[in-house]
């Protein structure tokens, strides 16, 4: 028996707070938020804005990981969706058509992954690795190997605009988090996803369409990646098929795992994922502030991931528990 049940978001939140404090000690200006031309500016605002894309991808990834799978293709889907946006806007299509096409691209990619994993029983890593590798090629094909510049103020607004002085992208993502939370917890979908991840056989034997639930998680994840692709392209006003969404799958997986959802599936913590994504963005910003060269930046990230994985491992927990043995009730 555990002494007390800790909230699953305790550790990621503690990590985020510690990191922010560390930055504030280093430079008090870190916490400063100013109002300029009726818009909010400051490092925390930047973190929210820049972290919104990872947050969005990680939202979809949470559900996939909760079913016991993983989606490595999200980074490539981001690139494809960005490429689709650029080509359509260049061709003079409306913003609505462009957005629909980008999200549709994500849905399609997610469906392909879902089909492979849920219906055909391919291992998630292998199934999504296919699209991860091939997807970059598809994106290059769409933009014909060029970096296409996007000149559309309304499109750019999605990533860099402000609504009532607050940056729009994080508002959009937070709204999506809230909507997803309600969609999962007000219906039985959240329970079903957790059940499939916890024990797929038992779920099926209890009369659940386990394959359909799994497929749905991949499709949702694809849609999130598609929208993140829109934000990524809007942010830099260009579709860069080569660099867009690069290593995003790893950041997203990191955010999910740090946020308290186990890679083995089962219980998911959506709020934890959001905090995890902000934690990783803060870490990136911190290293930028400390002048750590971008080439070395993955190392501290990796160390943090190892630390969190070890904290979650039962074996290590038992081993640590053995170092400080508790008195057992006789």
């Amino acid at each position: 028996m555990k002494p007390k049940a800790k909230s699953p978001i305790f550790w990621p939140l503690a990590g985020l707070v510690a990191l922010v404090l560390l930055n504030a000690v280093h430079d008090l200006g870190f916490l400063k938020i100013t109002l300029l031309d009726g818009h909010l500016y400051g490092v925390p605002v930047d973190i929210l804005t820049q972290g919104s894309r990872t947050m969005l991808v990680a939202l979809g990834m949470t559900l996939v990981i909760a079913t016991g799978g993983v989606d490595l293709s999200v980074g490539s889907v981001v690139a494809i969706a960005g490429a689709v946006c650029a080509v359509l806007l260049q061709g003079g299509h409306s913003l609505a058509v462009t957005l629909a096409a980008a999200i549709g691209t994500g849905l399609l990619a997610g469906s392909a992954n879902g089909l492979l994993v849920a219906r055909l029983g391919v291992q998630p890593i292998v199934a999504t690795l296919i699209l991860m590798v091939a997807g970059r090629g598809v994106a290059q094909l769409i933009v014909d190997g060029q970096v296409i510049i996007i000149k559309s103020p309304s499109f750019e607004f999605l990533a860099n605009g402000f609504l009532l002085g607050v940056p729009f992208a994080p508002l959009l993502v937070i709204a999506l988090y809230a909507a997803t939370h309600f969609a999962l917890r007000r219906t039985a979908l959240g329970l079903f996803i957790e059940a499939v991840g916890d024990n797929e056989t038992a779920s099926r034997f209890a009369g659940l369409a386990a394959a359909r639930i799994k497929a749905l998680a991949y499709i949702f994840c694809g849609a999130c990646a598609g929208l993140a692709g829109v934000l990524a392209a809007a942010n830099i006003r260009a579709a860069d098929a080569y660099r867009a969404g690069e290593n995003m799958e790893l950041d997203a997986i990191f955010a999910v795992v740090v946020g308290g959802t186990a890679l083995t599936g089962g219980r998911f913590v959506i709020l934890g994922t959001a905090i995890g994504a902000l934690l990783i963005q803060t870490l990136t910003t911190t290293m930028y502030n400390l002048g750590v060269p971008p080439a070395i930046a993955p190392v501290p990230k990796a160390l943090l991931i190892i630390g969190v994985s070890l904290l979650q491992s039962e074996k290590v927990g038992r081993w640590l528990g053995g170092l400080w043995p508790k008195k057992e009730a006789a």
């Binding site: 028996m1 007000r186 219906t187 039985a188 979908l189 329970l191 079903f192 957790e194 059940a195 916890d198 024990n199 056989t201 038992a202 779920s203 099926r204 034997f205 209890a206 009369g207 659940l208 369409a209 089962g266 219980r267």
Partner: protein, 504 residues
Amino acid sequence: MNTPALLELRGIGKKFPGVVALAGVDFTVRAGEIHALLGENGAGKSTLIKVLTGVYSADAGELRLAGRVIRPAAPKDAERLGISTVYQEVNLVPSLSVAENITLGRQPGRLGFLNWRAFRRRAAAALARLEVKCDVDAELGSLSVAMQQMVAIARALDTSARLLVLDEPTASLDEKEVAELFGIMRKLRAEGMGIVFVTHFLDQVYAVSDRLTVLRNGQLVGEYATADLSRLALVGKMLGREVSAADFTSHAAAPAVTTQPVLAARGLSRRGAIAPVDLALQPGEVVGLGGLLGSGRTETARLLFGIDVRDAGEISVKGAPVRITSPRDAVRLGLAFCSEDRKGEGILPNLSVRENLIFALQGKRGVLRALSRGEQEQLCEHYIKALRIKTADAETPIKNLSGGNQQKVLLARWLATQPAVIILDEPTRGIDIGAKQEIEQLIAKLRSDGLAVLFISSEIDEVVRNCSRVLVLRERRLTGEIAGAGLNSENLMHLMAGTHEAQS
């Protein structure tokens, strides 16, 4: 005949956390003998085999091979000592050739270079010893399961084996293939090898073994010459009930009026699982599905519930033919199935008692019609009280509950769906006596409420006590039915052992 013992195990004990798997077990195999190792689930057969082959090390007792004390610490040690094992599931690499599989791990050659000619020569010699005709260059995966099994045996014999352990080698073989395997076993016996043969099929025990050892609940029941022990006596020993013991007679009354069966199946079959079975369940009737382990009880239940796809047969619910191709179909038609594998196929270990309990009902209602938190808590409160489930509260993860209480939650999960038919596969396995009694009381209540119950159990007394009618399966075939006054443990055991024909 008093040949010296090839293998002697004395006083073997093995404990796992919370379970005594083996306690003071003796086991002796002589050279040139086929020795069957028998027992129901949880008897300790596989633990004993694993101690013997070095997978586990025993906590107590000693092992002697040809008089010398041995302590195999790993399967490799055991192999070097001359103890070779062929497991039920073929443990080979399907994408490698037959020759590679036979010599894998002890490849001929030097300095890291392989001698391919020696490879083939050795493999061919090993196969020739078994008189098996097989291309040593063929890819293993392209061969039949039976042939793969032969290759596995050839591999086991490639080392200078003195003792061969066959762990349920016939589970996936058909009759002709079994006969071939027996031919090989007899040939090896004639060469002076000792063979340990684990099987669930009594016919096979009598066909090929010289002696047999029976285990039950981790303890030695006894060692017997096969020819001296009747089938009925053997079944009695495996189940822990002597034939002479006081007979239980059924207390369960048959349903008052025969109405239309709520669930009926005709010619239900699946190749390698169960030969065509007919059955019909009336409302308010508890029908037992009797038989030894591996007789096809669970297989029948899985076909009824749509877990496995049937090759042939029709199922009807309340007289109307239905299509059941998945558990989902079955649940929607008012069926429920409590699996014997509580951990693997029943509980959602990390989810709460509440979530586990409402799960099937919510699944039946679908994603959108979610039960409100209030409704869920009401259901939990009702069932925790009604079934006397011992749990701190409804939010405790189910994995923290004892086996009996987990089982009660799973029963509640199904009762909440208000099924017309409930299939209970070993509902009392691995739970304490008190919980057992409560579950039996519950079954009686379900019957009086008008549910049809299909009850599967290895415990004969339990079947006799709870059922008004018992269908008996043997070697994956429906072999008889007992009802009414004839339903007592002796008749049931005769049917299960296949000795009833000789009696009448």
